[in-house]
Amino acid sequence: MSTRQGSSPNPALRTSLPTAFASVVEESSYAHPTQEEQDKYLQARPGATARHLGIALQHAQQIQAQKDAEGMILDQDVQLFKTALQLFRPGDYDNMIMERNYEDLCGYGLCPRKNRKQVGATGSTFHFKYGAKGSGPGGRGRAVDIVPRENLEKWCSDECAERALFIRVQLSEQPVWERRADETEDIRIELLEESRERRQRQKQKQKQKQQLEAGSSKSASAVPQSSESDITAGLRDLKIQEAGRSQELALERGDTGLSLRKGRVDVQLKEKEPSSQSAPTAPQLGPGDEMGGSIEGYIPQEQLEESSNTLKDRDILDQL
């Protein structure tokens, strides 16, 4: 995975696709000034000629092209980062953070900055972190967090720590070699920025809905238009290889039996049917029970014989 470095001393951290794209769009609107703008520019500078302006424009476009390309590289980075992380387990991810720290880089994979070094006194293993005013218990004072220094030195900033840990919780604990094909595909890693944006969009949508419901008059202007990002998200969810369909396809090809798809052993869960419909009856007092009877349901052999004997006797008496 490559991180862009060296283009400027402190390159801007553009971590998500939308922000990168937005910045490109914003810049490209300045790329082609109209004739009026050009004339105005020349009038303001008496020494400048049209040729100067031409050269300046050419350079500007070159820089623009460079920026566009860099933006695209970043897009590639983000995509690459996400697809590469699908195979990671949280432990592997921690290793990656450690390796990056050894190289003096922030632990977050897409951050080109250096990690923090020696916050506070040297040699101390813990560091006090004070929250904002009024964040303490009962809304008074400041909240104090005691953080191990090594945890602080993993990242360049708290924001990056949040971003990195946000990704960590999305990773699967199951090792790659035990996952089935469609399981790896199902792991969709989302950057913190993307998730925030999505949530905001959902909120807006809800608001719009509420407004629509509140407004009794039908206003055609408030029709929610699906944005470009919505469409891309929809496309992403449209899976070509759905679990069920891929199973069907495999059967059609005769790849493997359906029973072996789920693992080596074919496990079929079968619910046990209740054998009798009648409700269980309460136990009734047996013949020898007043003398002690059964011991937790167990009737000693002697007693049993006795009781059966008495039963027999009684039978004979009746007959007589």
Partner: protein
Amino acid sequence: MDGDVSAHSQEAEKETTRLWRTFRTVYEMLADRGYEVSDDELAISLDEFRQKYSDPMGYPDRNKMKIQARPTKIMEMKYTLKTKSNPNPTPDCGTVYVDFCPDASGVGTKQVRAFNHIVGESNYHTGIFITQTPISPSAVRLLSSLPNHICEHFQEQDLLVNITRHELVPKHVLLSPEEKARLLERYRLKESQLPRMQVSDPVSRYLGLRRGQVVKIIRKSETAGRYASYRWVI
């Protein structure tokens, strides 16, 4: 200012002494494994070490401390497996290369990659990588990933003392393939029926043992004088 300098020199002296002990253990280890090591190298004194390997500040210069050694005839014999189909085999051992990593902390894949490169480039059979701090898990994995070469890792503090010289550690002797075959025949055993010993065992690491080898352990015994037992390395 004066105190500062003396504190510095004290620090340097301490580090030099520690490293000297590690360095001597490394030579002893190589000799015990059966590499060619001269007596001068084995008995290097602290002064000599300081003269040879310290920088102008008095600190030891780890970049200078690279060791190479060739196996002796005895060692080659122990590592050659003669079979009917292969009557003239080449020994499974060769030149060893020892590298001391100069980085004081944070040894990761970068340094290990450089070490692997040296080992692969110069075609050393075995490489021993010695660092001051533990190396990262991915670096460990990378170290063992070099095909046809054996790369080992030690920490400096592990080699501060030669563990095999301790009175409670019995003598371990590696058996050659023929000796192993004879032993198994003598006792009518399969090798899996021998007692076992892990590759990660400190003595096993010290001797650079490999999976499947058998060592003879000679202990002192009050009743029998000497008592030999065997371990299969797994």
